[in-house]
Amino acid sequence: MSAIEKLPGSSVPDNGLLRFLTCGSVDDGKSTLIGRLLFDSKTILADTLHAIERTSAKRGLDMVDLSLLTDGLQAEREQGITIDVAYRYFTTGTRKYIIADAPGHEQYTRNMVTAASTADLAIILIDARKGVLTQTRRHSYLAHLLGIPHIVVAVNKMDLVDYAQEPFAAIAAEYLAFASRLGIADVRFLPMSALRGDMIVERGEHLHWYDGPTLLDILETAPAIHGAHAEKFRFPVQYVCRPQDSANPELHDYRGFMGRVESGELSIGDAVTVLPSGRETSVRDIQVLGESLARAIAEQSVTILLEDEIDVSRGDMIVKSGELPTIGKQIDAMLCWLSESPLDPRRKYLLRHTTRDSKAMLAGISFRVDVNTMEQQPAERLAMNDIARVRFKLAQPIFADPYAESRGTGAFIVIDESSNNTVGAGMIV
């Protein structure tokens, strides 16, 4: 029985959740692939199927266009293109998947960056007839920049090249050459036909020369982002619980520090340091709804109680003693500009890092990256979709790690206080 035939139910072993991103140029088959995954995992339901059957017929198609499943908003439907990140869900019974569907158009680097920010794996689609394109390089660069650990290069439309091995092997060789230059380490190649369903969930009849896993096998076994290597414990405090007004006298001195473990793990008794004060103490308890947990692991939301009475508020960070992050008022980062109004070097912005906000000013642009050629160019200003290496000066210190080591404490967003809009996304180097 393939994984997909198992019913999602509480008795099935739970292999957690995997977030992945699909990217490719227009017409490479992204929507068809997602439609296929949803269809084969029986996530497409009858009424939805009827709706897309009707639409397919209305558009004069002779078979159901699975790509219609991932169509989003009215305005986009009218224009016939996808212009924003959409999220889709399916489950195999052993694992739950969140797909971020990022459109492949030239001008939408920011959508891809948004979608990639939460992904554990990227599927990069290549049309077997067209081979590696400029977009392929751009998507790979962005996936790598955003720290996605696993990349699957899916060579699609194999049916249109007679399922032959040669074009596939040529694409893989060309891709590897530039991937190694970028420093992409974990990349796998897969021949497939999204339209016919070969090597997605089923192996199909035509790709006998390929003995690697199907796409679904790759997804089912890909390790999630945390846990593979020893990580440093990082706990940005979101909220402080002080229920003094409670009728229960036992709670009178209760001070719980609430947040989510961004990385690493923590056990009761561990020695910790609170930032920015630098005060040291140890962990008295880790709680969720009145229950004690012996330890807290990455991505878990918990409440931490400390042995000593230390002043801690939102924006502070609890770390293990001896594993301090970099504390500073200056950061160097790769910045993606997301806003239609360009980055103004004379203005103050708000920089949000973990649960901490600080006023920030640009202190310099080292270079801008041409995302198509990966060339570094000098730049004075940054416009929407630009990616650059920059330096910011901050009014308040932040507690940061390099993004490559820890997404949670290496990422920040830039907010324009005049509009309250999110205008930039940064990765600390």
Partner: protein, 309 residues
């Protein structure tokens, strides 16, 4: 030991439910940390029942840093309204109820016909409540899998002074760095269970042993068949002449306004049976049960632009 703790030991990372729960807790705490006057929408429906458990996990032993708000159409099933009141009392949290019928009396809601579904008018009453209390964020239980238009909505979704959602002008949302900033009069809608599907909700209800209004479970009730769906026969939705009333075993998958919430035939009388049934079901939740949504693919998007939650 709680189930949550056990499953953490069983697998290296979090199980999918633990992950979803943890994300939702994180989101609620961000609302508490970033917004000055939030509110949690609570209808007595299954999604908002999950939201209350998440709020307990996020804030206990403290009180919730927000009151609960129900926008009542006046056409709700008794069982659901009773459940709503009981649950709020058990939690010791403040429940605010604002009614579409009051908006009708004020003249701010005008029905086209007396038996028109009132769901879409909830947006007016909600906006009135937001103004009355000065809420800067409304936490709701909507999910992205419910409807196409929602698949692109942010977790922190910005609304202008008229409560409108502009799908073309959404704030980028990266990592888990949420931007809840708004100016006076504007409002955030926050959806902590955006990434949950219907089956996740049921699995969570089972794991956490959450109580639900009885109409979620199979029971016998009088119905008529109309427009391809089943319609309960009630005071506000009588049978039309010529229709045959049948007594069928049914359950509700969503509970909303009586006039536009239809049950499905089922004999699933436990959460486990509902999960088994949901896993093999072939009709989306809204398709099956929201009679007002079938008008067009784009109907939800249209309503959201008009300020529907």
């Amino acid at each position: 030991m709680s189930t949550a703790a056990l499953s953490n030991i069983a697998t290296a990372g979090l199980s999918h439910l633990d992950w979803l729960e943890s994300e939702a807790i994180h989101i609620m705490r961000e609302v508490a940390g970033q917004c000055s006057n939030p509110v949690l929408l609570f209808s007595g429906g299954k999604d908002s029942i999950c939201m209350l458990r998440i709020a307990e996990k996020a804030f206990r032993p403290g009180r919730f840093p927000f009151p609960l708000l129900h926008v009542d159409t006046g056409h709700n099933y008794r069982e659901v309204v009773d459940f709503r009141d009981r649950r709020a009392a058990e939690l010791g949290e403040r429940l605010i109820v604002r009614s579409v019928e009051d908006s009708m009396a004020r003249g701010t809601v005008v029905l086209n016909s007396p038996d028109e579904p009132r769901n879409k008018h909830q947006s007016v009453t909600l906006l009135e409540a937001i103004e009355e209390f000065g809420f800067d964020a409304c936490i709701g239980g909507a999910r992205r899998d419910e409807e196409k238009a929602r698949a692109k909505e942010r977790i922190f979704s910005f609304r202008d002074e008229f409560g409108q959602w502009d799908p073309k002008n959404q704030r980028p949302e990266l990592w888990d760095l949420y931007n809840a900033r708004s100016f006076k009069g504007e409002n955030m809608r926050v959806f902590p269970i955006s990434n949950w599907t219907e089956i996740d909700v049921w699995q969570y209800i089972e794991r956490e042993r959450l109580a639900l209004p009885s109409i979620y479970f199979a029971h016998r009730r009088p119905l008529v068949r109309r427009g391809g769906g089943l319609l309960p026969v009630t005071e506000v939705t009588p049978a039309r002449s010529g229709e045959t009333i049948e007594n069928l075993m049914v359950r509700f998958r969503t509970v909303g306004d009586i006039t536009c919430t239809a049950p499905v035939e089922s004999d699933a009388d436990t959460v486990a049976r509902i999960i088994a049934e949901t896993a093999v079901t072939t009709i989306t939740e809204r398709g099956a049960t929201r009679l007002d949504d079938q008008t067009s693919d784009a109907s939800m998007e249209q309503r959201k632009k008009e300020g529907y939650f």
